[in-house]
Symmetry: C2
Subunit: 301 residues, 2 copies
């Protein structure tokens, strides 16, 4: 049994490798729900949908959002009518969101995702971290911003002074899944807004301490591989590199994988993380993804 903690971009890339190595029934992906919200009248759980599309090979790898085979007829017609959608939702992707929105009237988010995984033929388990969606507020030089306003409206440009969100209740199945796993993999996702919302839920850190946990750094040198992780790390007082990330995970991390060019940080991190491996963590080809996934699961032995 393998559990993966995931956000919406870095970890799905690694998942493409993991899903080719691990028996689908033995894989659980626990997904961030921070800032899930309603847009254009539909419930958008962007990270969950990205993970589902990744697992059933429908993901649009250009933006790690939506389906690769989608059209944008409704979105474009809305624009012609004078209604600018905050999110660019594809016609097929909108169907998934409409279904989830309708299901949510009678089901928990956990149940909705289970139903949709069945519909998409996904045999692995996808668990939202919670049935709740913590709101996140960013304190920036543009004032207080919602996550989506920061990310989409202001294109991650503002300087970030603080990232504020509350902890929510984990699903029981999230804690159980971590406890039952032979290994938990924390993917190379944004540690502040994708992974930490999972970590701070009551019971999660305790469960992780009792399990073998491996993580892949989301940084190469001083830059996050994708997204605004650097700005958020800085705002929270962490170094914006693989060392900073390992500090967030130090209480429970057993094995940490950093990029080849970051070997200079290995001995520093080894002072508080039992095992550090150095490898190519820039996942471009499917082979890169499979190779890394294989070594993570074999624990570089």
């Amino acid at each position: 049994m393998i559990s993966v903690l995931s956000g919406g971009t870095g970890t799905p890339k690694l998942l493409q490798g993991i899903k080719r190595i691990v028996n689908p029934e033995d894989l659980t992906v626990i997904v961030n729900t921070l800032e899930n919200d309603y847009f254009s009248g539909v419930y958008v759980s962007a990270d969950i949908d990205t993970v589902m599309y990744t697992l059933c090979d429908l993901i649009n790898e250009d933006c790690w959002y939506g389906r690769y085979d989608d059209t944008f007829i409704t979105h474009e017609t809305l624009k012609e009518l004078g209604f600018e959608e905050t999110l660019r939702i594809g016609d097929k992707d909108r169907a998934l969101k409409i279904q989830k929105t309708q299901l949510l009237k009678e089901h928990t988010l956990e149940e909705c995702v289970k139903i949709q995984c069945n519909s998409l033929g996904i045999k692995s388990k996808v668990l939202p971290m919670s049935n709740l969606q913590p709101k996140v507020t960013l304190d920036t030089d543009y004032g207080l911003l919602s996550f989506h306003d920061f990310l989409i409206k202001h294109k991650s440009r503002p300087e970030v002074y603080d990232v504020i969100y509350e902890k929510v209740e984990a699903l029981d199945s999230v804690i159980e899944s971590i406890e039952k796993s032979d290994e938990v993999i924390i993917g190379p996702s944004n540690p502040i807004t994708s992974i930490n919302p999972i970590l701070i839920m009551p019971g999660v850190e305790k469960a992780l301490k009792n399990t073998y946990v491996c993580s892949v750094s989301p940084f190469v040198g001083d830059d996050a591989i994708s997204g605004p992780a650097g700005k958020f790390m800085k705002a929270k007082g962490f170094q914006t590199n693989c060392v900073g990330v390992s500090k967030i995970y130090e209480n429970f991390l057993d094995h940490y994988i950093i990029n080849t060019n970051d070997e200079k940080y290995k001995h520093i991190i080894e002072e508080f993380i039992p095992k550090v491996s150095v490898d190519n963590i820039i996942l471009k080809s499917l082979d890169d993804k499979i190779n890394l996934a294989k070594k993570i699961i074999e624990r570089y032995e």
Copy 2:
């Protein structure tokens, strides 16, 4: 100034003729809102949308619902996901419905329709009869049914014992528009579920009595030109032909147009309606529609 009272199929056909004769700024269409409701999370005002699409020449004339140039990608994907939409909503049409649903959070239905008419380049005025949507219940041999369950799920098959709906408050602009008109045209729509909901609103009948009102029969012989009008007329104790319809309008109707083959009813109706004309009211070609519209407005003089 011409006002037209409209439902969703018969009257829009006539509208295609009227809009080619009347200056667009001098035309107001007052539209039924009976059983407007939410489907798949969007507000559906089917008759209003049909009238708007008719006025901007986007209407799908195969079913008098939605746009002629539409696709059904979201609808088909929903089906693949296991979610059967009650209504078959097109991708472009869904955009209009999403926009209306979002606008309704901050605007009245009247304002929403005005905004959307602007977006669609419609220069005539489209007025929902009310900002409210009376629910209609059908007492049938299948039990009590909603209008949409009768129409869509049971394909108008059940025998109808009664049609029950409450009266709602008319928009002020509806009463004003009728009062200011040189002529009010009641199109060949279902008298029970399309026209009568407008007529029973407080103030409407009084305003119609003070205006020249012309109506086109929705019946040819014993059959409604389209839809289940016959069943509803029978349930309400009216003859299912042009005579029955004229009885519903007798308090205010000045001029009534019946089909050529129904000439035998002319002398009966003339006992309580001041003027009855006989003409081809089966509107197949655009020429049919323009010819009839012209004669209605010229009052067959």
